[in-house]
Amino acid sequence: MDRFEWCDGNLYTGEQLVEQQTGVALYDGQEKTAFEIGILTLTTHRLMWRDHRNRSCVLCVPLSLVVYLEEQPSGFAKSAKIVVHLSPAPSQKAAGPVSSSNQSFVRLSFREAGEKEASIPPRHRPGIVGIERSLDQRNKQMNKNISHAFEDLSKLMEKAKEMVTLSKTIATKIKEKQGDITEDETVKFKAYLLSMGIPNPVTRETHGTGDKYYTELARQLASMLAKPIEESGGMMTLTDVYCRVNRARGMELLSPEDLMHACELMEMLGLPVKLRVFDSGVMVLQSQSQNEDEIVNNTTALVTEQTSLTAEELSQLVGLSVVLARERLLLTEKLGGVCRDESIEGLRFYPNLFHSSEV
């Protein structure tokens, strides 16, 4: 303890802080001292202790005096300690709290933990090797984490596999109507499959019976989209819907499958929008008020007015996406309103003169 000297707690030029820990008590050898609660600071040059209440009470010992560190792990009702063995005090030394002591070591008692950080041997000054070493250590740690993660993943998948096998036996049971599983249980079972993401024919067959989640979702989508769909000319492609809905949600996004299921239910639920699949495979949500004849008449009128139109031109005229404009034209063509001119410049539609002019 006699190695300690009073100081002002300021760092020397070139001295850097390494670690700090609150709630540290100083022991002179085995004996308790008056320095009970304080902040221990490890710098590149010194070990400092500052009293918790009386901030001007600061002790320090130069690291050059530190011979050896020893850890004493915490025990029952005993906090972890680090024993700092010190070499004899130099003859010329600033005044300290104790002028002489027969103990050659002090103990630092860590009442608020943190002994691990503080016990970094002060000899390891950061150098290139030191940096390399710490990087290496970090890499090792990371690799360990990842391989841990993979291991955990394999275990988890093992469990999942069991679930899949089990669910398959049950599914066949339900299908063959062996063992009368009640309606209630079937619903529960379906929910399980859904949660696990197990594709199953059972879920698809009985689609119409109304999965609560999907009917709710369908209603929600319909009320949310009715206006935007009306504004964009009565139709919206499912990919647009997907983007719009998920952008609006921001979190807990919808999966394409969920969206699809919900849209399939819309017509059955009598909602103001419904799913429509075009011959080309394009899927749209269409507002119920949208009238096919009206579209055809409008499109025919537009084409006649402009003498000819491509999908791109129509899309700009009415503010639709090109894909939808093309569908409109194709639909109109199918019903005889317009006829096509296919060339290298793309597909262009002209009024159907056979239909309109009286020859």
């Binding site: 955990d152 993943l153 679930m163 049971k173 399980y192 993401g197 594709p199 990919t239 969920d258 394009v282």
Partner: protein, 245 residues
């Protein structure tokens, strides 16, 4: 003597059958309650796993790939429903769904230039740009998975392989082998000409014309009449330098 044919025997037989049926029901019920139990256990496991490794899955594309492959191997689709355990607890769903949204947006934004055909590398660059700098890394596998999910929303979004290159088609319409062959040939320089195609694939004139006209009509190829002796067809999706623009 045991095979009696009297009324008693028939009754016995019926009784036995009824018993079998009961037993069957019992077993099925057992299995069901077993599943309920296992489900709880599994959920717990997944929760533990999620607390430990959620970040790994989010941040490490390699780990994500492993996870997806393992799911596929046991026949589970973690992305099927946003109400699934996987999506809810691990957050894998949101990652891919969001990626899906970004892919759609990028494809729409570029379709006027490339006719709805975009190379997967360009798509990745653009998606990364729209995600901002601080987001997680996205691997090609992630992109392909997200695209595969989008496919059920109508028949847009197909991944074409032309030679070593993968292209994403975001507009409906089927490309034939001939068309992809043209795209493959165009990879080297960004353009093709009729004579090149005829020489390379030994196609007849008519076949070449059809393939090129289709691509031009769909807006996937651009015509260049100033390229010398012959008309050149440029494929904007393959322009090497527009990527950075």
């Amino acid at each position: 003597m045991r095979r009696g044919a009297g009324i008693g025997a028939i009754k016995n037989k019926n009784l036995a059958q009824a018993r079998y049926k009961d037993k069957g029901t019992e077993i099925a019920e057992d299995q069901f309650s077993q599943m309920t139990k296992q489900m709880e256990v599994f959920k717990k496991n997944l929760e533990d796993f999620a607390t430990k490794h959620k970040d790994d899955i989010r941040k490490d594309p390699q780990f994500r790939l492993q996870f997806q492959e393992m799911c596929a191997s046991i026949g589970v689709d973690p992305l099927a429903s946003s109400k699934g355990f996987w999506a809810e607890m691990l957050g894998v769903g949101d990652f891919y769904y969001e990626l899906g949204v970004q892919i759609v947006e990028v494809c729409l934004a570029t379709s006027h230039r490339n006719g709805g055909l975009i190379s997967i590398d360009e798509l990745r660059d653009r998606v990364m740009a729209s995600r901002g700098r601080n987001s997680q890394d996205v691997s090609l596998d992630d992109l392909l998975r997200a695209i595969r999910k989008l496919r059920i929303l109508g028949n847009g979004f197909t991944v074409l392989t032309a030679g070593s290159m993968q292209l994403v088609q975001s507009v409906p319409g089927e490309l034939t082998m001939d068309h992809t062959n043209v795209l493959q040939l165009a990879q080297k320089s960004g353009y093709v000409s009729k004579s090149q195609l005829i020489k390379e694939f030994k196609w007849e004139e008519e076949r070449t014309r059809r393939a090129l006209e289709f691509l031009t009509k769909e807006g996937m190829a651009w015509v260049d009449d100033q390229g010398g002796s012959e008309r050149l067809y440029w494929i904007p999706s393959l322009f090497p330098d527009v990527k950075s623009s």
